[in-house]
Symmetry: C2
Subunit: 448 residues, 2 copies
């Protein structure tokens, strides 16, 4: 099993297995279509950036139950030998249609649609929701930070407080996809080829008798890659020390890249630090800012004209702190050729295989229509086939492609959506509404 992250098919809810046994025992292998979509946008979000499809495709291609897994399932004394045999040879053989990663989307619009024999489509539910949920939440938050930074680089510093270590990889991947410039996460660098970068910690400064000695030591080791953290004791004193060290080592070829501010009244301090650096003959040295940043704080700092050259954005981006999950659901919309739906209060779903047609005026997104897949409505169809017969239809898209797409997508959003003032509500095609009404009638007849 080779995949960029470690995954077990047991990372699933027990009911996926119990339901699958019923399907298998009754030979309910007809094709089912499940739609993965966000019911409502969370919190202040007015758009979402699709992500997580890459890891999902990789996971689906490698989904296997080991002997060990089967022994555990057997030990639960819930399952038949014939079902265990089914699991033993289980492969995902289905078809996926999806939004390309990096596409902007809105409530009710499918991110992924899975069509597969019912037990297969059911068994991957937990996996599909989980991966798209975490990466889409983070990619969207990261995109908001990138927009707020107005061209200044944002670096992912999230690893230490993401929800687990795998989550740090999702955060590094999703934020880089969304326009971040680099990550501090070394494993993400190794696995995904994302540029890695870093500065120094307060503990480093404290490990030396003086701040000056700490800066000297680091500079000697990394003459081209030193960013001094200057706020351990007194920030302005730290800036002056940085200048002293940089000047002292200049002749030996040392070039200070930057200084980092991680605390305090950052706006005011940054101006004074800039002055100290400029007066010290170091106008080329960058000011790097970190510490509890999110898109709001970045926007405020940029708006205030504070001289900052780059942002280290950590925890609040890494966990999408103000919207740590999406109301993402995986709903059956068709089985054995028949449209299905649920009518649960507040959680109604729409039947059928779907497509989103996006119309633009000049370059701006103007209107999305949620329709049936086979309809040929005006506008660009956003979902396309990405997997057939359990195999991805193309090799993973490069970050260059993904980053370019996000850039273009964000540029195509009306300003009010970008600024969080309004969202976009997809319209429903006539045929979809007709199918919905027919399915309602059928179900209500069946249920009564």
């Amino acid at each position: 099993m080779r995949s960029w992250f470690v995954f077990s098919p047991l990372l699933t809810d027990l009911y996926e297995l119990t339901m699958a046994q019923v399907y298998v025992e009754r030979e309910m292998f007809e094709e089912a279509t499940f739609s993965l979509f966000v019911r409502e946008l969370p919190g202040k979000r007015t758009f979402l950036v699709a992500a997580g499809l890459g890891p999902l495709l990789s996971a689906l291609e490698h989904l296997r139950f080991t002997e060990d897994d089967l022994a555990y399932i057997e030990s639960l004394r819930l399952f038949r030998p014939s079902f265990l045999d089914y699991l033993k040879s289980f492969r995902f053989t289905g078809e996926l249609w999806a939004l390309k990663e990096g596409t902007v989307f809105f409530a009710q619009e499918p991110v992924v649609e899975v069509t597969a024999p019912l037990p297969e489509a059911q068994l991957i539910e937990t996996l599909a929701i989980n991966l798209v949920n975490v990466e889409t939440a983070v990619a969207t938050k990261a995109a908001l930070c990138v927009l707020a930074a107005q061209g200044r680089p944002c670096i992912d510093f999230g690893a230490r407080r993401t929800q687990g270590l795998e989550a740090s990889l999702h955060a590094a991947r999703a934020s880089y996809l969304a326009g971040f410039s680099a990550t501090s996460n070394v494993l993400a660098g190794k696995l995904f080829g994302i540029p890695v970068t870093g500065t120094m910690a307060h503990s480093f400064v404290e490990s030396f008798a003086t701040e000056e000695k700490a800066f000297f030591a680091f500079a000697q080791e990394f003459p081209d890659n030193s960013i001094f953290l200057i706020d351990t004791y007194d920030t302005l004193e730290g800036a002056r020390t940085a200048v002293r060290v940089a000047q002292a080592l200049k002749e030996k070829g040392f070039r200070l890249k930057g200084v980092r501010l991680d605390s305090g009244r950052i706006e005011g301090l940054a101006r004074e630090v800039r002055r100290v650096l400029d007066e010290g003959g170091l106008p080329e040295v960058k000011i790097f800012m970190s510490g509890g940043l999110d898109e709001e704080k970045v926007r405020r700092i940029v708006a205030s004209g504070t001289p900052v050259d780059a942002f280290g954005v950590g925890t609040k981006m890494g966990v999408s702190a103000d919207a740590p999950y999406l109301d993402l659901a995986y709903k059956l919309t068709e089985y054995a050729g028949k449209p299905t739906l649920k009518l649960s209060e507040g959680k109604v779903t729409f039947p059928g295989k779907k497509q989103v047609f996006r119309e633009r005026t000049e370059s701006e997104v103007a209107k999305d229509t949620l329709a049936l897949r086979e309809e040929g409505l005006p506008g660009e169809p956003l979902l396309s086939p990405v997997m057939q017969g359990g195999k991805a239809l193309s090799s993973p898209e490069s970050f260059a492609v993904l980053r370019e797409r996000v850039k273009r997508e964000l540029a195509s959003l009306p300003e009010k959506i970008l600024l969080g003032e309004r969202s976009l509500q997809a319209e429903f095609s006539e045929r979809l509404l007709t199918l919905y009404r027919e399915a309602c009638e059928r179900v209500q007849k069946g249920a009564s």
Copy 2:
């Protein structure tokens, strides 16, 4: 490498490696102590439940750089061959003092203190913060749900929307530790021995021509383990169908365990559903509730006298939605026998190896004192050695022990803390304050 979760030492911030190279090149191998503590409690939290130590100890025992890891690090062109040699033979050999998992604690109180040669102690920073952060956040949220449920079982349904799949394992572990009764997460069942359970999904009901046929099919497959989901179309109709199916199969030995409500005005519906079940001769059938639950919603449902027997608590617990991260910091407090601290605005740290002494009046927590480790103050010392020479001092505690501890700990909290009305602020011992003042003076002398 054998560990209950997969881990790479590259899951670290780049600066841990660059700083470590400076330490190694300068032979700064003297012992350093880092303290892992929460600066301020997040959001509405008035206490925290310590968790994550188990996974941390396991990870530290298995920390190894592979050839592959070293090749990647070398490719960054930042590191010396001598440092790569250091990493090649790297083992964590340090000592840990920690709160036992399940212990209740407050702001500024160390959860873990690490003492090790400086480069080792530095290299594990990202790992230590990450694992304690995610499990403590979730264990605390889960404990609040358990308290709110007043004896009714809570089941972890978080897997689908945790931040990654590993996060679902942390959520299952932390919530079970905190008093949850079971999890839907099959892998957590396999790895940790947590009881697994589940019901059925709306898609299951929709896959059959009628709700009744769906219930029959499930009942026949799982005669002792059926919980029918009754809100796919019309909840009361669903309840009546459940009664019909249960009665029809009673003679064949079928025993319906419960019905699940996942949507709608749950309080009102539950009463009517209870009436339908009772009148249908099924007073023993449980009502199981799920759908966007958290401690607030559970408390409201319980307070309203709604007849609910168990709660399926998912996303909001699994990501600790209202407080998805802790302000958890890993700070150097001593190096080479000298106390250290930082004076950064709003982020001051206290020097020295520490201990928390907890005093109780009768059975209730009355006062915590943050002191130096060697002090012998009144009260129970909360931190104890858990790892020496890189080896855990005892085998992992069983869930039985951990769950009992959490129960006892919660029972020892004053009501106002339990209800979220106030927290507890540890007092600082005289000796700690003296050491702090001395260290400040020394640092300010050094820095000026």
